[in-house]
Amino acid sequence: MKRILCLTFAKPCDIEPLAQWCMRFSPSVGIESAPPAASLLLDITGVAHLFGGEAGLVETILRELAAKRFRVQAAVADTIGAAWGVAHFSRAEGGAAGCQLSVVSCQLQRTADPPTRSAGTPRCPDGPRTLHPSSFLLVPAGQTLPALRPLPVEALRLPRAVAVLLRELGIRRIEQLEALPRRELPPRFGPELLEHWDRAVGRLDEPLPLYRPGLRFAAGWSPEVPLARREAIEAGLAKLASRLSEMLCRAGRGAVQLECRLECTAGDPLEVSVGLFHPTAWAAHLVQLLAVRLERLRIAGPVRHVRLAAPATAPLQPRPQELFSEGLPRRRLRDLAGLVDRLSNRLGQHAVVRVRLVPDAQPEMAYRYVPLVKCRRLGGAKCVPLLRRSSAFHKFSTACSKQWHTTAAQRPLRLLTTPLLLPSGLPLPLWFFGHAHRIAKTWGPERIETGWWRGQAGTIGHQREALVGMVRRDYYRVETSTGCRFWIFRDLRDGRWFLHGVFD
């Protein structure tokens, strides 16, 4: 038999620190995010006797929360659904409703003792006001159904549409719902109603939505006096980065994305996001990356809060050390990660790329640039070592490059982004780059023709030349009288000549 304690808070608050705090009472703490506000669920099966029974346990929790100025409604029941429903609705639906039931014992807890201040524990945001009493209800084991009957249908955590429909039909209480034929419910109100109902009364098992602490890596800092000087902000960031790095190291993870948020006394908060090439937990590196970005930011006013977070992380990759290293320190590709991070951080992710060969006849389509640092989505980021030698991509590239070895000299190192239209046809001197070039020698033609399925999009030389489109070209390598070499082609569709590449 399970026993679940549900804690609901009178005012919306940051629930995660509270969940972490509640772990001192039970190892399994969950967060139920159903509206109106998030509440905590504690599995207290087998732990209540340590605190003098269920009542003793709940009293202890409520007293300590009251000391932190939280006003709480609590309920203990056999199922998550029942505990949640009783905690939320047995008061709201007329104070007497819960007490009239003989199965529900109700006590009112007043906080007489002054609040004890202790550092590092969550505190209620509404400050030193008059304390409201917290209360709790215990539903004895096996008495779930009688406790639920007088509650409104919303106590079943129903979707809003279903609850509204039930209300419109005059079904306000769970006992009215119970009277309806069970078989009729799913076709009329959807499958959720019966599911929630069965879960609340314990016919269906419901797993606790467990809270897992430590998967969030974030550190915040509010200086006593808002910071106006850049050095001071950077010093603060360095402090936060070392805290973050400590957290990451402890979890054996490295940041793949880094977010920094500066809240200023004036203007909108500034947010900076940095993507990383390899997961890292090295504080100095993180600070360097942020410093490069902050250099270029205009900060509207003194900074009153700095927050540093690593929303995406990946396991740190161990780096084997060589026991006997002789002579030259071996350069390894993965050691480039730091450089890639730095460059991408300042120049943009799309400005630092690797090359991927594509099997395509059209020269400008024969390769593709792939950013080394990818824009990763928050959470669930998977880090793939990008410069991995054994990847399929690499195999393909190697195969391609072998083929390229034989054709390389036919390709120029400089390819014009848009082919340059040559006004005069061959064999007249060609005018380009401000000089007349007399052709002394040619090699070719090399015919490059792409498939009809590419369509007829765009013609060369027009302002908006579409790359994708069928091409039919005869390429020639030409050598001028001065020994310079160029790559020109004749468009077979209209016979015009273009300069496409320069053998630099």
Binding site: L339, R346, Q403, L415, F433, K441
Partner: protein
Amino acid sequence: MISQTQSVRIEALRQEIARLERGWRPRKAQATSSGCRTLDAILPEGGFRGGTLVEWLADGDGTGVATLAFAAACRACRSGGGLIVVDQNREFYPPAAIGLGIEPAQLIVVHPQNKADHDWALDQSLRWAAVAAVVAWPDAQGGTLAGRTFRRLQLAAEEGGGLGLLIRPATARSLPSWADVRLLVEPLRDPRPSSLVPASLVPGAPSHHGRRQRWQGLLLRCRGISAGLSCILEIDDETHPVLDLR
């Protein structure tokens, strides 16, 4: 008439000058082949030494100077490490470089937006120890390489230990240089007659018209030896795109 003791002394002094001129060098850096046997023969250490800058000067377009620079970069990358190409013009064509023997996995292309970013990226890349070589066109888009920046790049290369290959126009010849080696390259015309029949369209098919490309290389400056030496550089596409495989 110079006596034997005098000639020994002169030789010792010459070596002393060469030693002084060599200045500080990364101790562990070794010279890598320039990719061209004739050039290696006149370079004092038989190639380009890591941690230095090499300037390739050529007049005009289509001279093939970048081909030579990439051949040297390819040799420098053999020991592992990355090759960074800083390409502000966005006209670099990677398949051609891969064809010259560069490993695609080792190649990283950087596209800076402006001159300041370009110089910064170049500096950072040279400074990074895992980078074997950096190729850049520092005078791209009408800018010039300022003396101060040049000195910074040289210091960065010394720190990182990689080879910096700067491709510049011949007009930069009159400007001061911090490069270890400065080479002026001029293409030479192929003396053989033009191919009257179209060359083979099938890649790799044997052809009796070897696509040889030759350059006249003039060593404008090189630490440790007197300048003014010249050599003929040659590439034969048909046998192998990489020059003079040893």
